[in-house]
């Protein structure tokens, strides 16, 4: 059997090789003009990669196949058929129906290709559903050769519906793919077993891969299967029309498909229900929330199977959408983005205000329930696209228009206000400082548009108001000695600590409120030195220091940072958590200052949970600023934009604000930079801008592992490139490999999903073995990096071998480990185990060196050979005979110079039946205490004084200092001292111990120095 299958596969390769030409010839007459018209989802999602890969794939199809890692390839080809062969019969039919590839349904009767941007005419809708049944048939053909590891549940009505747009694209470059159809078709007929198709797959994958560099180079069968899927997804879609005649024979073989096919015609509810049922039936493995979450994140199963509708701008304005379940051609994020792009609104849960719910596969049960209850209209993915296409731009109803107008008015008003104020300021400034050239336009936007009154502050309104009342009441509270808490409990505090993320207006609010309350704010920030001394001196608030007086500046005693402080001053300490090493004692001094301050103090920090902020917790009122909602910022930004004559729609602004986590300052900076080049911004540009300005976040190894091994991490829809994945490794390249190693056995690989029972287990094992090999390779590389050779340039290679490759093999939902918190990556055991090994290793060395006086063996010999017997002499007797054996045990221990600590270590070193946990349980506590007591009571020979020696030698080292330049000093007592102790040592071994200890003491004083001196002295003498 093994011999025959590879042969077949090779045959296939051949046939595939020339088939493109054939098919191309056949197809040539078909129109090929609108190549660019169709744009698939992949192009939408990852424009760069998919576009290039699909064309490249076509190109390489004709070329001779070049396989870079050929040995791997062979392995796959040989191995694959083998396990499968047994079951191929059962699988053959199933596999053929498993992966419906969306074929273009709208073959002949599709209306003429429409430009993408245009919404389809209502007529266009009609033909589509009709075309469905045929499309289903056709699809089957193509699928039959399809491998499809994971998506069993793809058999879906929705799938079959082919979007019109796809029709366009397929028509455009439809020539090439048809060979796939014909090829597989013929083969399907005479050779049903799956093995063939399988063996063929990797080869194609390689082709594709070599063309598109975006993926793991050495990806094995699993990977290449993914690729195949991708490729095929695209190809059949493009190949249109041709397969029709061939469709009929295969149709019968896959009755499973038929049932769902007409479904879309039925009412939406039916569809929903059916879907729900399906979700329950077909996806038991994924029935956990984790998989669901991952699936949501992972995106569509058949990306690009439909053309993305390009609605008119604002066409969805005023509508609220909810997406539930998994869509086929479009990831959820993409879908949401689509809606937002068209000014629609997306919420996460359906409610009364929801206009439509777009239902995908595996829709959440609870959502479906609410939908039913609230009678919200639902639509399928295709209907959704259709809807978008059909909708005219700017179909706003009265109310919305009004609302919009009102908003615009408001914005303009605000802008006007700004302008007015600016002018005033301008004139003011001009009047004041004519010499200075600084005009308004030279100012940063963040300064220029800093809020000037309470109304203009975005978000955190209540907190800011409270700050204002606290400031207003401060003098009153001061007079009452901070005893009355007041309404909001702020009355007992002399200072307020504001905390919150950057860029949300903390400093601005503090300044503003201080001014509003009639105070004169003085700000000290990280640019001012704020050490204890400086805080005490420079903020000489209670006039205890005379240095102002002695400095001869008169009685100008109360000043902060050279600014006179009076009772109407408010001290703002910005960036308190930035008080660092340079500002020693700063926080403490600040705290002392707070306790006696006679002016209000506002402290500002980013993170008040820091350890060094602890002292301030009790003396200040904690006030937390939150990130404002995008809606809170929007109008402000919009008015600024209006003022600056930048045309940016509201939804884009929202996107920008969200993209930078509501950091107002950053949005303004971004926009002011953007204005330099352009006056308008559309949705995509906005996205891009956000992406460019994205702050680099460090992910934890846990999330990285989760991301790399998630259920769909390497599925064909995953848009991440090899580089993206390696990037994850570089987040923390010392830990991530360990996490992967810890986790790789704990998944149910997605690549085994199509198999079941023993087959699945075997496949799982094979994957695990490959992953383990990769990890093992990774370790060898690690050794080259961290070993003596220090080849740090190998890090990327290490990333692939230790992290990406194993993950690519075993990605999938986690298996339950049975315990609580069993989900998710665990902290690597290796670290703990390694340090335990180190610790026990040191103890073993200790034991060995003590026993060395009697025993010849090294450490390993002690552990492997002595220890079992020794345990039966000094441990087991205690277990068996209890207290009686204590004497004997101690005698034995003395014989080998073992102490009580060593006894403990020896017990700890046992495994299996000698494991510490077992043994210590077996020894009665009475025996233990008797043993300890007895041991402490008697004297014991010791091999050496470890502690003394250690201290002495430490001292020696210290004494010797950096350079032992003491040759002259020691010259005289050369050679003498070793003698006396050495000579008289021919007594019994009992005395030996004493001698040894004596030696130690003597040694501790002299030998190193003496020997060193000798060493140094000698060459001198020679001279």
């Amino acid at each position: 059997m093994p011999s025959s299958t590879p042969k077949k596969s090779s045959k296939k390769e051949d046939s595939e090789d020339y088939s493109p030409k054939k098919s191309q010839e056949k197809k040539k007459p078909v129109k090929k003009d609108e190549k660019a018209a169709g744009r698939d989802i992949r192009g939408f999602g990852a424009q760069k990669s998919s576009g290039s890969s699909s064309t490249a794939g076509n190109g390489t199809g004709k070329k001779p196949i070049t396989i870079d890692d050929s040995d791997e390839e062979e392995e796959i080809v040989e191995k694959k058929p083998a396990p499968k062969a047994n079951t191929s019969k059962h699988f053959a039919s199933a596999s053929s129906s498993k992966k419906p590839i969306v074929l273009d349904s709208s073959d002949s009767d599709t209306p003429a290709p429409r430009p993408k941007a245009k919404p389809p005419t209502p007529k266009a809708k009609a033909p589509t559903p009709k075309a469905k049944p045929t499309s289903a048939k056709r699809k089957i053909l193509i699928d039959s050769e399809e491998e499809s590891e994971e998506e069993v549940e793809d058999v879906k009505p929705a799938k079959k519906r082919q979007s019109l747009g796809a029709g366009l694209s397929s028509r455009s470059n439809g020539k090439k793919p048809s060979y796939v159809d014909s090829d597989s078709e013929s083969e399907e007929k005479d050779e049903p077993p799956k093995s063939k198709a399988k063996s063929k797959v990797p080869v194609k994958g390689k082709k594709e891969k070599s063309a598109s560099s975006m993926d793991v180079d050495e990806s094995e069968d699993s990977d290449s299967e993914d690729f195949i899927d991708d490729e095929k997804d695209e190809k059949p879609k493009k190949g249109k029309g041709k397969p029709k005649p061939k469709a009929s024979p295969a149709k019968k073989s896959t009755p499973a498909k038929k049932a769902p096919a007409p479904a879309p015609k039925a009412g939406k509810k039916d569809v929903d229900e059916e879907k729900q049922v399906k979700a329950e039936e077909k996806k038991p493995a994924n029935n956990n929330w984790r998989a669901a979450a991952a699936a949501r994140a992972a995106g569509p199963k058949a990306p690009g199977s439909r053309d993305i509708a390009q609605g008119e701008p604002d066409s969805l304005a005023g509508l609220t959408f909810v997406f539930t379940g998994e869509m086929e051609s479009l990831g959820r994020e993409d879908a949401q983005e689509l809606v937002k792009r068209l000014s629609g609104k997306v919420t996460s849960a359906p409610s009364g205000k929801t206009s439509f719910v777009v239902v995908g596969e595996n829709a959440g049960a609870s959502k479906l329930k609410t939908i039913k209850e609230k009678k919200i209209p639902t639509m399928t993915e295709d209907e959704f696209f259709e809807f978008i296409r059909s909708r005219k731009g700017g179909q706003l109803d009265e109310k919305q228009i009004k609302a919009r107008q009102a908003e615009e008015k408001k914005i303009q008003q605000q802008a006007l206000e700004m302008e007015k104020r600016e002018k005033e300021e301008e004139t003011d400034r001009k009047r004041k400082e004519r010499a200075l050239e600084g005009t308004a336009s030279a100012q940063l936007w963040t300064t220029k548009y800093a809020p000037q009154n309470l109304r203009e502050i975005c978000g955190n309104k209540t907190v800011v108001e409270r700050l204002g009342t606290w400031l207003k009441d401060w003098q009153k509270n001061y007079d009452s000695g901070f005893k009355k808490p007041g309404k909001d409990g702020t009355g007992i505090y002399r200072a307020i600590l504001i905390s919150g993320p950057p860029g949300i207006g903390k400093t601005t609010s503090a300044h503003l409120m201080a001014k509003e309350a009639g105070y004169n704010p003085i700000e000290l920030n990280a640019s001012d030195a704020r050490s204890k001394k400086l805080v005490e001196n420079s903020t000489n608030i209670d006039n205890t220091s005379l240095d102002g007086y002695f400095q001869g500046k008169g009685i100008q005693s109360t000043s902060v940072a050279d600014v006179r402080v009076d009772s109407r001053t408010c001290l703002i300490m910005d960036e308190v958590d930035g008080m660092s090493a340079g500002d020693r004692g700063g926080v403490g001094a600040l705290n002392a200052l707070i306790k006696k301050t006679r002016i209000p103090m506002i402290l500002i920090c980013n993170d008040r949970s820091l350890q060094k902020m602890k002292p301030l917790q009790s003396t200040t009122f904690n006030m937390t600023f939150r990130r404002p909602q995008p809606a809170e910022i929007r109008s402000r930004i919009m008015s600024i934009l209006f003022k600056e004559k930048l045309k940016i729609p509201a939804n884009v602004v929202d996107e920008l604000v969200k993209g930078v986590n509501s950091d107002i300052r950053q949005v303004l900076n971004m926009l002011s930079t953007f204005k330099l080049s352009k006056d308008q911004m559309d949705f995509d540009e906005g996205k891009e801008l956000v992406k460019v300005n994205e702050k680099n976040t460090i992910m934890t190894p846990f999330t990285i592992t989760d991301k790399l091994t998630g259920p769909y991490a390497f599925s064909k829809t995953s848009k991440e490139t090899l580089n993206d994945r390696m990037e994850l490794y570089f987040h923390d390249f010392s830990f991530v490999p360990l996490f992967i190693q810890e986790h790789y056995l704990k998944t149910q690989p997605a690549l085994t999903n199509t198999l079941s029972g023993a087959e699945q287990n075997l496949k799982h094992l094979e994957l695990v073995s490959k992953a383990a090999d990769a990890i093992s390779d990774g370790d060898l590389i690690d050794r080259m990096i961290h070993g003596s050779e220090q080849h740090w340039s190998l890090l990327p290679f290490h990333a692939v071998q230790s992290t990406v490759k194993p993950a690519s093999l075993i990605y999938g939902p986690g298996r339950s480990q049975g315990g609580p918190g069993g989900w998710g990556p665990a902290f690597p055991q290796w670290l703990g185990q390694n340090s335990k090994q180190g610790k026990l290793g040191r103890q073993l060395t200790d034991i060995q060196i003590r026993m060395r006086l009697k025993v010849s063996g090294g450490r390993n010999e002690i552990r492997e050979q002595y220890m079992p017997l020794l345990a039966s002499k000094i441990v087991l007797p205690l277990v068996q005979r209890g207290t009686d054996a204590v004497e004997e045990t101690i005698e034995y221990m003395d014989e080998y110079f073992l102490g009580k600590d060593d006894w403990d270590a020896l017990v700890e070193l046992g495994v299996d039946s000698m494991a510490e946990s077992l043994i210590s349980k077996k020894i009665p506590s009475a025996t233990k205490s008797a043993f300890t007591r007895q041991y402490n009571k008697s004297d014991h020979p010791i091999a050496f004084h470890k502690g003394d020696m250690f201290a002495a030698s430490k001292k020696k080292i210290a004494d010797m200092g950096p350079a032992p330049d003491n040759e002259d000093v020691f010259e005289e007592d050369e050679a003498v001292p070793d003698e006396p102790s050495d000579k008289g040592e021919n007594d019994d071994s009992e005395d030996e111990v004493n001698d040894v200890s004596k030696d130690k003491l003597i040694k501790a004083v002299k030998p190193k120095g003496a020997t060193a001196a000798k060493g140094k002295a000698k060459p001198k003498a020679k001279k």
Partner: protein, 356 residues
């Protein structure tokens, strides 16, 4: 009260039970006054250290048996403090540089040089040189060995080196060429029987031959192991009659259990369980190569003949990687995953693909 293995250790060259030609050569070397650097090598438990001590006794007299332990502390270039235990008599010093792992070079450079630069101070000593014994010389890193090489020549007047290793293959050629290579072969079965009989006689009991046989088969030429097993057996069944099972050490039974559980079930979950057990062994100071060897031997015992060569092949393959790599468990795990896959494939479809 010592264990027999220590109690009946020969103390002089005359008392040695086997390799008489080696003993006589060592004797004449010691007598010649031109004592070379010597590299003793041979398997564990063959009697290398015993012979070294006997030779030293021959050189210096009984004074060399007065051992004491000194703990040296020194600082690495990276400012780490290291303890090195030094066993010494008045005439010789014994070092185990591999105790400090990758810092062994510093030990060689600092301590050894310091010793080498000082002359023998005991005027009554029979020899004008001191002897430095370096244990586990084959575990010395390349750097350490390179550091050793010049010292050996330069300070030949003051010091002779005795290296003790299991195999010469990991010792660099320059060092091998500077030493007299002395191979201490594992004792033959007859030799071992002689020793066992000798011990039995001293302990005043007779040793039945089936017991000898079973001891010999388990100890595999390791005399130390043989004597320890012998004593354990005697403890277990003082009359030494009947069918005595040789008590296996704790780690060995644990390894067998791991092997059995691999044979019993092959799955990722089982591999995960096995990982835990291997961690247990490794953290309890069982060397990874021993774990690999014991497990694979046990598996080879239990699988179909057709699979045996494959298991051995993979064991060798991963042992090499283990030695080259740094995180041993990764390779052990890869080995077990491979064995599981191969075994399962074999059971399910009756054959496995060829290994390289």
């Amino acid at each position: 009260m010592s264990l027999w293995v220590d109690k009946y250790r020969p103390r002089s060259l005359d008392e040695l039970h086997y390799h008489p030609e080696l003993s006589s050569r060592l004797r004449s070397l010691a007598a010649s006054g031109d004592f070379p650097h010597i590299l003793f090598y041979g398997p564990s438990g063959a009697g290398k250290k015993t012979r070294i001590m006997c030779t030293l006794r021959e050189l210096y007299g009984p004074g060399v048996e007065k051992l004491r332990i000194d703990q040296r502390v020194f600082v690495t270039p990276s400012n780490r403090k290291l303890d090195v235990n030094v066993v010494q008599s008045n005439y010789h010093i014994e070092l185990t540089p591999s105790d400090v792992g990758m810092y062994d070079r510093v030990v060689i450079q600092d301590i050894l040089k310091e010793i080498a630069q000082t002359q023998q101070v005991d005027l009554n000593a029979k020899q004008r040189f001191k002897v430095v014994i370096i244990n586990e010389a084959d575990a010395l890193t390349r750097d350490a060995q390179a550091a050793l090489r010049r010292t050996m020549e330069k300070y030949m007047n003051n010091m002779r080196l005795i290296l003790c290793a299991n195999s010469t293959s990991k010792i660099i050629a320059p060092i091998r060429s500077r030493c007299l290579l002395v191979r201490v072969a594992a004792p033959s079965d007859d030799d071992m029987t002689k020793v066992l009989q000798h011990v039995a006689k001293k302990e005043r009991f007779s040793l039945p031959s089936p017991v000898t046989k079973s001891i010999l088969s388990t100890s595999q030429g390791n005399l130390r192991k043989a004597l320890l097993v012998f004593e354990a057996m005697k403890m277990q069944r003082p009359d030494l009659t009947g069918d005595i099972e040789v008590a296996k050490p704790d780690w060995e039974t644990y390894c067998s259990k791991i092997a059995d559980s691999i044979i019993q079930e092959q799955s990722a979950q089982r591999l995960l369980d096995v990982r835990g057990k291997i961690y247990e062994l490794l953290s309890h100071c069982i060397p990874p190569t021993v774990v690999l060897k014991t497990i694979s031997e046990r598996i080879v015992d239990r699988v179909d003949d057709a699979l045996k060569p494959q298991i051995v092949h993979w064991a060798a393959y991963y042992e090499l990687r283990m030695r080259m790599g740094s995180k041993k468990i990764f390779h052990l795990e890869a080995f077990i995953a491979k064995v599981m896959t191969v075994y399962k494939q074999f059971n399910m479809i009756g054959y496995t693909e060829d290994y390289e």
